[in-house]
């Protein structure tokens, strides 16, 4: 297995995540797509640490922090989505459109 293969996997995951953010309309699904992007980052960080920078732990530390921040982000985002659901009875971002341009 070469670094090239891992990078391709990560790039594919990143692209799927971006597609999800753009195509999905449910706020929870958008959030899950963002998680895919963050996991692409994690794969890349660990791969670079293992292939290019062995002996140091920079990549692994990045991964641990990204996982932690992502968890916090999901908690916060779910709370805000819950408020959206309380005030509008929907989690569809297209219906949150009272402000435009």
């Amino acid at each position: 297995m070469e670094l090239y293969h891992v990078e391709m996997l990560s790039a594919a995951l990143f692209a799927i995540g971006i597609y999800g953010v753009l195509a999905r309309r449910n706020a929870v699904m958008i959030l899950m797509s963002i998680e895919l992007v963050l996991n692409a980052v994690n794969i890349n960080a660990v791969a670079y640490a293992a292939f290019l920078d062995p002996g140091r732990l920079v990549g692994q530390v990045i991964t641990i922090f990204v996982i932690t921040v992502a968890a916090a982000e999901v908690g916060l985002a779910m709370a805000i989505i819950l408020r959206l659901y309380r005030t509008r009875a929907t989690a569809n971002v297209d219906e949150a459109d009272s402000m435009k341009w």
């Binding site: 980052v41 890349n44 960080a45 990045i62 985002a77 009272s98 341009w101």
Partner: protein, 493 residues
């Protein structure tokens, strides 16, 4: 290695701000609802105390913690002082608004204090991951604060748009950071500069990393084409928070960007300055042109601040000692002026609950003080002489012109002229159009907001007439991040 030389005592200002936030969280439990104003006063007095302690404590200190991961220097000190001052002003200006429109004041003030901490850390971080973490701390606080009006649909909508786009942009930023790590094998700014000096060609990984990094940071500071969240968040968020997002998040983002580009990416300036210059031109033109069409005053100011980001980016594109000074001077002038406008509008909103530009009709007779304050600040934003905006734009534009970006300075002039038009629209409403029927009553402003807006407007004028003390501080700060630059200074005389 890194043991034994960690001077934790240099982090006292950060510890104290974090401690103050937790004191507010705790104090909140013990106060009856009608006495919650004490929380705001404790926060402001605490911040003032920390400010008075920090300046002599860290002045001319030049050290770093954890192998250069966290910097303690005059540049960080300058932004620490600016962040704490902005935080204090926003808390003071919030008191009446919070009493009237919001619940949970304890959380409000404490989260504001935590975001001040994040701003202080952003200016001090000397490494990409630390920078990212402090950026996220700031963003998280702002996501919560922009949705703080719990029963207000617009506030909620602002918050959800902010967090979804913010999280998405964090993803881009992180992917960029990791690509840069893969390309250079380091995330520290200083080591990045050493690496970039030693190579001839830029490889694909570095290029993708740099592009995604700029896109991610562009989202955070609302540069076109990554600005889509800004107008909605500005319009929906509670008014003092709009002021805070407009000023605080921009100050912190540019503190980070300036240090990253000056200390880390300067050797590769040919690779990114075209990109940043293009982004700057696009941002200032688009922001100011779309602002022409706005009818809501917060939305208009949102697009106006998008335009201001364009001016500030010009300082990054032309990166040198001169333009770094110009950028920071403009950042200070922009902060003071925008705080003045926003708190004058907050005082108006506290009484009337209205925020359309047409609602300002006849303000000159309803409250001459507010009308004058808004007029002076808007003229300063447009860059009229004897006000802060003129001096700071002069510094910034001439720095860009001196660095072979004359065309960009020209675009900036045109954008400034356009901005004058929509600022004048507000001023015309206030001074020429009469108030609508049944709305001619005088507006009573509480003494606190009166004093706050008054002081901010006086600072706008002072900065326009006598900017030298601020400029001297800024030159010291620039000397830290760009030590090699020539010491030439820009004199107005």
């Amino acid at each position: 290695m890194m043991e034994a030389d960690v001077h934790f005592e240099l982090l006292w200002p950060e510890f104290l701000v974090a401690g103050l936030a937790f004191v507010i969280f705790t104090l909140d439990f013990f106060l009856r609802p009608e006495r919650k104003n004490i929380l705001a006063w404790v926060s402001v007095i605490g911040l003032a105390g920390i400010l008075a302690f920090t300046i002599p404590y860290l002045l001319d200190e030049n050290d770093s913690l954890f192998n250069g991961l966290y910097r303690i220097d005059d540049y960080a000190l300058f932004f620490k002082v600016l962040s704490m001052a902005i935080g204090g002003v926003v808390i003071l200006g919030s008191i009446h608004y919070v009493n009237r429109y919001l619940t949970h004041p304890g959380e409000y003030y404490a989260i504001l204090l935590l975001s001040v901490l994040a701003m202080m850390m952003m200016a001090a971080s000397g490494e990409l991951l630390t920078a990212y973490l402090s950026l996220e701390l700031l963003s998280f606080c702002l996501y919560i604060l922009s949705g703080f009006a719990l029963q207000n649909k617009k506030s909620n909508e602002a918050s959800i748009k902010y967090i979804l786009l913010g999280a998405f942009s964090s993803g881009l930023l992180l992917y960029g950071i990791v690509m840069l790590y893969g390309a250079m094998g380091t995330t520290s700014f200083a080591e990045m500069a050493i690496f970039l000096e030693g190579i001839e060609d830029i490889d694909g990984r570095l290029l993708i990393g740099l592009t995604l990094l700029i896109a991610g940071l562009g989202f955070k500071m609302a540069a076109v084409p990554f600005h889509m969240w800004a107008p909605d968040v500005y319009e929906g968020a509670p008014m003092p928070i709009t002021a805070y997002i407009a000023v605080g998040s921009k100050v912190a983002a540019f503190a980070l960007v300036l240090r990253l580009f000056a200390e880390g990416l300067l050797p590769a300036i040919e690779q990114w300055n075209v990109l940043i210059a293009g982004l700057a031109a696009l941002t200032m033109l688009f922001g100011n042109l779309v602002a022409l069409a706005q009818t809501n005053v917060k939305r208009m100011l949102a697009y106006s601040s998008v335009g201001q980001v364009g001016f500030l980016l010009m300082g990054v594109a032309a990166l040198s000692t001169l333009s770094s000074n110009g950028l920071m001077v403009h950042l200070v002038g922009y902060s003071v002026t925008n705080l003045a406008v926003f708190f004058a509008i907050t005082a108006f909103y506290n009484v009337t609950g209205k925020e359309e530009i047409a609602d300002f009709a006849g303000l000159a007779s309803r409250s001459p003080f507010l009308a004058a304050a808004i007029t002076i600040s808007l003229f300063s934003l447009a860059g009229l002489p004897f006000l802060a905006g003129f001096v700071t734009k002069f510094y910034l534009f001439s720095a860009a012109a001196a660095e072979d970006l004359l065309w960009l300075a020209g675009v900036a002039m045109v954008a400034s002229l356009i901005s004058l038009y929509y600022y004048l629209k507000v001023i015309r409403e206030m001074y020429i159009n009469p108030a609508a029927d049944g709305e001619g009553s005088t507006i009573q402003i509480p003494g606190l907001l009166y004093g706050l807006v008054g002081i901010l407007v006086i600072s706008v004028i002072l900065l326009g007439v006598y900017p030298d003390p601020v400029v001297n501080m800024i030159e010291d700060a620039t000397a830290v991040i760009l030590p090699g630059g020539d010491a030439s200074t820009l004199n107005l005389r």
